[in-house]
Amino acid sequence: MEEANFVFNMIGENWIAFAIISLLPMIFLLAYALIAILGELKISAFIQERLGPMRTGPWGIIQPVAEVVKLLQKEDITPDSANKPLFNLAPFIMFAASYAGFAVIPFSSYFVPSGINLGLFFLLAVGSLGIIGLLMGGWASNNKYSLLGGLRAVAQIVSYEIPAAMVILTIAVMAGSLDLQEIIRQQSGWFWNWFVFGGSGGWIKIIFLPFSFIMCIIYIIASLAETNRTPFDIPEGESELVAGYHTEYSGMKFAMFFFAEYANMFIVSAIITIIFFGGWNSPFGDFMGGPIWGVFWFVSKAFVFVFLQIWLRWTLPRLRVDQLMYVSWKVLLPFSFVCFLALSLLVMLK
């Protein structure tokens, strides 16, 4: 079995190594957030036949830096009637919760910050931590729109966790493990070994291929809802709730919420990549394999799903709050139950 972590290999297991390991995802996250913000601006512009930001740097590529600087130097307003301790705490809890998810994300076969056995379950559990931040921010703002936004966000995330958990359960059954590295290793080889195509195995999986494909779609939809992206951006739908739970936030604290949203986008994309699209595996067998290319494959696969989220955002209208619940409880959940049964059958047949 390969070594789980090259940092430990290099400098041994001491506190410097721990510090490096816990900071590496942060560095990645910063770089990613800049790229994702630029991507959001540019993709939305091109979809709408605009050019997007063009003035900051060639083709506006330093625009995200400018936006971050702008947010940092803005006045940090705390409303007078807000509950100050909770108001100030909420964005940090939000961000800490999304950053915690990075603890188990395997960027390559040689690097995973913490290779615990329960990685998949950990991601699911940590995903529910951010809810408290939302609720805290929404309530402490002392604004009706914020409170409604917070309540809606929580109701939405709690509901959509169930289909997402069903999908993760199915993957656990198919892989027989909750260890993310183990799950990825089982999908090695060509791309038809990915779990979205039923995982590795004989031709019998063709029968079950639609089910695993539907499972993938269910997870993508549920993940959109968990990150509050369109068409499920009801908590911050500006036509009704102005900006939802972060209506009253400005400056740095708003940037934290914003950052957490983008970090969440990456985490769900990473989860989709890991559990359905083979993680750091090359899609073409041994072609461009190995740990270094693994980072490339993992990041580029995850970016495809980040792109998908942006693409969907600029395509679809927004659902109403009761229709959102309808989609979760009456569409996604029954479908995921059926797929779960079918795929469990596949595992038994194999």
Binding site: I47, L51, T315
Partner: protein, 184 residues
């Protein structure tokens, strides 16, 4: 039950149709005009500004005979004209187009903060002195800078000249009065 599956299918299918349309647009040519770099007065695609566009007014003081028609036609009263009658024998120079003039235009102010660009003044003008131009970039930091006095701007009459004609007219009036008081 059939409706349920149909609805689910429609939900996914129409979303896919929408995604196909937007991805199609992702690779199309953008229509944005990079404004200060590409000026709409130049050929900037189909958004170019026609020559008859109604923007900032311009008054040719050599053509203005001070008839006040434009000020009367203006619905927002943004034009204010002051004229001084000329005394016989000291008529202002004729219009550039040749017409006669017997009023000194001592002030021709247009308040562009009020102007509504309706073009009624240009229609009312008998000599075509006041026209709409395609110039639209004239923002300023001070709203008093937007009150244009065309007499000053084109230097058609200096302050001394205005004072002189005013004095002449006043003298002329006085003389007239005197004549009226003691008729010959």
């Amino acid at each position: 039950m059939k409706d349920y599956f149909k609805n689910v299918w429609l939900g996914v299918w129409t979303a896919l149709i929408g995604m196909r349309i937007t991805i199609d647009h992702l690779f199309r040519k953008n229509v944005t005009v990079q404004y200060p770099n590409v000026h709409p007065k130049d050929k900037a695609g189909w958004m170019d500004m026609p020559s008859n566009a109604r923007n900032r007014l311009y008054v040719d003081m050599d053509e203005c005979n001070g008839c006040n028609s434009c000020a009367r036609a203006c619905p927002v009263n943004c034009i204010s004209i002051e004229t001084v009658r000329s005394v016989p024998g000291d008529a202002p120079p004729p219009l550039a187009s040749g017409g006669k003039r017997n009023l000194w235009v001592s002030q021709f102010e247009i308040d562009f903060t009020k102007c509504c660009f309706c073009s009624l003044c240009t229609e009312a003008c008998p000599t075509g002195a006041i026209v709409m131009t395609t110039e639209f970039e004239y923002s300023s930091y001070n709203r008093y800078d937007l009150v244009y006095n065309f007499v000053k701007l084109q230097n058609s009459m200096s302050d001394e000249k205005i004072a002189e004609v005013k004095e002449k007219w006043a003298e002329h009036q006085k003389e007239k009065k005197k004549e009226a008081v003691e008729p010959k």
